[in-house]
Assembly symmetry: C2
Homo-oligomer: 469 residues x 2
């Protein structure tokens, strides 16, 4: 017999190091606002501070802790800085981080119900909670025909929906994926095009949008009919409640009726805006959702649950499980065979899964529905306020409606002015926002959603951009 393995950190040392890191994180959060939002390093700079080979001998905790400050932090772009106005938020909260710690400590892998029933059942219950919280269609609950599952990202959810739709269409129509068509708007997230390519679809049609950046449903219908006339097989429509470019809202009901007419799968991507549906005043945007076959939104964007935590719902779980279930002998399991349990391995590409539901449960309980509503309304009111400043200043103009907490604008002086302003504000290091384009014209996206962003941060952003414009 050889030794009993390597020396492990003692319980006492784990406690000591754990406290130190809890303090390190608390200090980080206290100080993050004063750090440059966008990491100011050159390509390769962080890497050059690391040795070329893994160490042979163990290194003490203190060396690693010290490298957090010396090597890691300079290479961090601070998504948790309240001056974060880029992309969409990946907002977080202390309860979420505590839950992640516990999840890591438990170290369980919930591929089957039996490999940790709590992982599955807490997830199932919390996903069902979300149906009521967001006023999603009741059949989406696991107590009905549908169900929800956590995935890593909306890209994974969308890809899964594309695969199930393809699988179903292939069985019905006996055609190759290369003749199948996916439809989405020209403003849809890239994950639909990427997912379609990964799932092997032969065609994708980007349908035109109207002045509100919403899909023109008559154009969708025309495109489907044209493809049918050409002998192709229309299979999948991806509609958005809150596009990535400008948070445009597609007419879900109109699209759903067209999809039903032609027997297409309707997937709704509400990755960002889905969290807002916890407030009744936004729910008119999701009118028609009962026509959807699948739906995704990301609690890790705007529900104070740290990345990764993407919610995926299907109106009928049977085609999903039929498509993804494969049962080798080493995964045979009494509880699974009884049919009395959910095995989430059959709900997504990966087999293994960590205990992600814990943080969603923890956050919902720590803030309550009312706390999350307050956060959403707070951010939306800040966006309304920021938009009002833009509207009042003739140097700027809004380029799209702002139904949620993203404001898109440009400089009236033209594209160079917009691009220069985008760069100038980011160059201060005090803020980070994202430049993009709409109809090939540059625009600036101001996304308000970091957990701790207040009116003061928005005022400072306004003052800076106003001075620099």
């Amino acid at each position: 017999m050889s030794s009993d393995g390597p020396d492990h950190m003692s319980s006492q040392d784990f406690r000591r190091h754990g406290y130190a890191l809890i303090d390190w994180i608390a200090n980080y959060w206290e100080g993050v606002e004063s750090m440059p939002v966008l990491a100011d390093v050159a390509p390769g700079e962080i890497r050059s501070r690391l040795p070329n080979f893994a160490p042979e001998a163990p290194e003490p905790f203190e060396s690693i802790l010290s490298d957090l400050d010396k090597i890691v932090l300079p290479g961090i772009t601070h998504w948790q800085n309240p001056n974060w106005f880029a992309y969409f938020p990946a907002n977080s909260s202390p309860p979420s981080v505590l839950a992640e710690l516990v999840s890591a400590g438990l170290g369980v892998q919930g591929m089957l119900w039996s490999t940790s029933p709590a992982v599955t059942e807490i997830e199932t219950q919390v996903m069902d909670w979300l149906v009521d919280l967001l006023d999603l269609p009741q059949p989406w609950k696991t107590t009905s025909e549908g169900g929800g599952v956590l995935q890593m990202s909306a890209s994974d959810s969308t890809h899964t929906a594309l695969v199930v739709a393809r699988h179903k269409a292939s069985a019905v129509n006996n055609v190759d994926a290369s003749s199948m068509v996916v439809y989405t708007s020209s403003q849809a997230h890239s994950s639909i095009e990427k997912g379609a390519r990964i799932a092997g679809y032969g065609h994708i049609r980007l349908i035109e949008v109207d002045a509100n950046q919403a899909m023109v449903s008559s154009a969708l219908d025309a495109a489907i009919r044209k493809d049918l006339d050409s002998g192709l097989t229309p299979v999948f429509v991806g509609a958005a409640v809150g596009t990535t470019g400008t948070t445009g809202v597609d007419p879900i009901r109109e699209i759903g009726i067209i999809a039903a007419t032609h027997n297409l799968w309707l997937h709704v991507d509400a990755a960002y805006a889905g969290s807002a549906m916890i407030c009744a005043e936004f729910r008119h945007h999701q009118d028609g959702l009962e026509l959807a076959h699948s739906y995704t939104f990301n609690p890790h964007k705007w529900m104070m649950v740290n990345f990764d935590c993407s919610a995926f719902f299907v109106s009928d779980r049977k085609p999903l499980i039929d498509c993804l279930s494969i049962l080798p002998p080493y995964l045979k399991d009494e509880a699974s065979e009884s049919g009395a349990v959910i095995d989430y391995r059959d709900w997504h590409v990966p087999l293994g899964r960590r205990f992600r539901a814990l943080k969603l449960w923890w956050v919902l309980r720590s803030y309550g529905a009312e706390g999350i509503r307050e956060m959403i309304r707070h951010h939306v009111s800040l966006a309304d306020y920021f938009a009002s400043l833009i509207i009042k200043d003739s140097r700027f103009e809004l380029v799209a409606p702002h139904p949620f907490a993203l404001v898109c604008f440009r400089c009236t002086a033209g594209r160079e002015a917009t691009q220069a302003l985008t760069a100038a504000v980011n160059a201060t290091g005090n803020f980070y926002w994202t430049g993009s384009t709409l109809n090939d014209e540059p625009m600036i996206r101001v996304s308000i959603g970091q957990t701790k962003t207040t009116k003061e941060h928005v005022d400072r952003l306004w003052k800076t951009l106003s001075d620099l414009a």
Copy 2:
């Protein structure tokens, strides 16, 4: 303007709650050995303890902490119990858990290099470290043509390889995926069949294995030729270094030569056994790896890095990026356009990604290569020891070689005896192992790899099974 959003946990409270949870985890680890390994709850039992609706009002930390003990723990199957002998391990370590805490605290999303350069560059460097640590082919380093990336699971890695191979074959042969064929052994992990179905391949051939549970390469060659004769397009071979059933090792070099002859993509799945390659004495099992196009192994199985952390390598990153890169305007980025950086969004299905490399870096530094080698050798020696006990007892027989730390055996008294023993040992609650089948005959898999498993645990397992047999 509305309020400033919900009340957030104060820095002081976060510290206090954080210390409490660090203690909770340390206590859990101290006590986990005495808990029943497999959760003893009925389907629905955990769920029935949860309310039907999310709370409206915030709940105090203390209520949630108390529910960890009352609701969560009874539903946990304890993967971190040293009496875990089931499936493969998902072993973990205190340094890994500390790193997960920091990753959650930083709350960054590393989809692009610029959204946190440290997330990308530490990952790149550590993946390059692994090439040397495991003696993988040098061209797999990012400093050469290849590169490594962390994915969530080996299923994701394998699926990605299947998609890239399909994409490439489709461009070259101009044929539909429905006419493409995937080959793997009858002992391959289900993720290859599942991935092939998800990627839309029309055919999968399960090639026979020899007495060592290794793919018969001449049978592979014959199957490819037969499919070619039928007008199908052979595209992908999945070979294993350590199958899930019995840790059989496919002849990678022979398979690689056949794959090259017919221009097939060779993917090697070493999900479990890959970690062992840190010890030179196991590397003969991966002879021929330079012929592979892609490779996956899971540090989250047997390298003390908690789930999820799956390493995926390609010998040439160009086809991968060509297949998966989609560039919408809101993701346009100066650093990306310069070509000087890696954007890992183009290396997998998801766009967003968390800072998973931190724990791999932290664990490699905390134990050093020598510590990890010691752990691997320790587990392998325990498996050798357990196998020697089986061999000496005429009531049992090994059913396959045990090149790593999985021992597969059965009762010589027949299938009922084997099945009864499988259940009886699990019913004690003191151990958890997995029953499976080989050639339709029941067998028992004893997988030794939990971080703290020692000879004493193996001796107690032996005594229990010996008494119960």
